[in-house]
């Protein structure tokens, strides 16, 4: 008898600033939607274990999409995308998520993202708080300068091999090697998009002057950072979290920058804790 995973993949067509995308997503569960964004240069398999976690999917409708240019979501369907440089902006990235949620008729989903997806979660909390029940940024910074570098697309550097290898250092040595190798495998598949992703990550994303304007009463923010995450170190995340009134910070002991992908069994208890925080804050808000 063949074993089938519970998650099912589909495509949905969306339009963002008149650009047409056929977006691939994996989905499993019921109840409160939980929308998940992968890291730069990767795809939605980073969320594969969450999608199969029955304790969560019996209460949460888990949806992990591939951003355009990543995984099975192709570049624009109605543009000669090969004639221009891919460069992801904060505005386009946010609109992509909003149009995707519109297409699936999701009412106030929880949004979680990792690394540059976590940075996006902070942007959404700042500029579209009314659209989300909460955001869960993982390995996120309010500002991540220095990573939009030519080396990521230099033929001298062999980006398809260099980018995954560079990711390795951000992971925890406690995490299973098999899962860390999968992180690298996924990153090698999206290497062509990585440089364009870092434009958002390192250049266009800058919330240093906006942290105090994030309204956690409208959209609770629960930040998570692994103790081995040198890109979003716990002490740095905790420091900027203090500038977001009402935000909650959870340190992920023994985990790295991509915890849901590198060691889901260790990560899930923190995720459950974060979801409990959201439930509690939602009850308070409703009362």
């Amino acid at each position: 008898m063949a074993h089938h995973a519970q998650a099912v993949g589909r495509y949905v067509t969306i339009h963002v600033d008149e650009v047409e995308y056929e977006v691939f997503y994996l989905r499993n569960g019921q109840g409160q939607p939980l929308v998940c964004q992968h890291a730069a240069g990767s795809h939605n398999h980073q969320w594969r274990s969450l999608l199969e976690d029955s304790e969560i999917t019996r209460r949460y409708d888990v949806i992990a999409y591939d951003l355009a240019y990543h995984g099975k979501s192709d570049p624009p369907a109605n543009r000669n995308w090969w004639e221009s440089e891919y460069r992801l902006t904060a505005d386009h990235f946010m609109k992509f998520v909003l149009r995707f949620c519109d297409a699936l008729n999701l009412e106030r989903p929880i949004f979680s993202g990792v690394s540059f997806g976590g940075n996006l979660a902070l942007q959404l909390a700042r500029y579209h708080a009314d659209r989300f029940r909460a955001v869960l940024p993982i390995g996120a910074m309010h500002h991540s300068p220095g990573f939009h570098q030519e080396i990521w697309r230099s033929p001298r550097a062999n980006p398809a091999r260099a980018i995954p290898a560079a990711m390795w250092d951000s992971l925890s040595p406690h995490s299973p090697e098999r899962d860390r190798r999968l992180v690298m495998h996924h990153a090698s598949q999206g290497a062509a998009a990585f440089h364009g992703d870092t434009y958002f990550y390192s250049v266009d994303h800058d919330l240093r002057q906006e942290l105090g304007n994030i309204d956690c009463r409208a959209c609770p923010v629960v930040l998570m950072s692994g103790s081995y995450d040198y890109l979003a170190p716990p002490e740095a995340v905790e420091a900027y979290a203090r500038k977001i009134p009402g935000s909650v910070f959870i340190e992920l002991d023994g985990l790295g920058h991509l915890p849901m992908a590198e060691n889901y069994p260790a990560f899930r208890r923190y995720l459950l804790e974060a979801l409990k925080v959201v439930e509690r804050k939602s009850r308070v808000s409703a009362a």
Partner: protein
């Protein structure tokens, strides 16, 4: 362990390592490990250690150098390193690791280099 003795053990560990072997084709470069009190010049050809020169002289050339104090290397060589010491980029962000030279050469060989740095957890460090 003297640097010359360490060089032999490091070369043996690298040449039999399954990860370096599996991805070694094209892993050709030269780099300096500057560990404060000791230094070694490693030359790789197609995934195998061609030569290791202990304490190279000032006129020796190489593609790039990895420089940090002895304490940083010692912490990186722990069986399970502490946060910030799990690799050269982590150590450059949190400790005194400096990456100098032709970065493109480092990056295109990064998988192999990263694995070799982790072999220090098995082999240990020269004194």
């Amino acid at each position: 362990m003297q640097t010359s003795e360490w060089a032999g053990q490091f070369a043996s560990a690298s040449d039999v390592d399954p990860v370096v072997s599996a991805h070694g084709r094209g892993f050709t470069c030269s780099y300096l490990l500057d560990m404060g009190s000791s230094r070694a010049l490693v030359e790789m050809v197609d995934g195998r250690v061609h030569r290791i020169t202990p304490d190279p002289g000032p006129l020796e050339s190489y593609d790039f150098a990895l420089r940090a104090c002895a304490a940083t290397w010692r912490d990186m060589a722990q069986t399970v390193p502490a946060p910030g010491c799990q690799g050269i980029f982590a150590a450059s962000a949190t400790r005194d690791m400096r990456i100098e030279g032709d970065i493109a050469v480092l990056m295109r060989n990064l998988g192999g280099i990263t694995r070799q740095i982790e072999l220090l957890r098995q082999v240990g460090l020269p004194q």
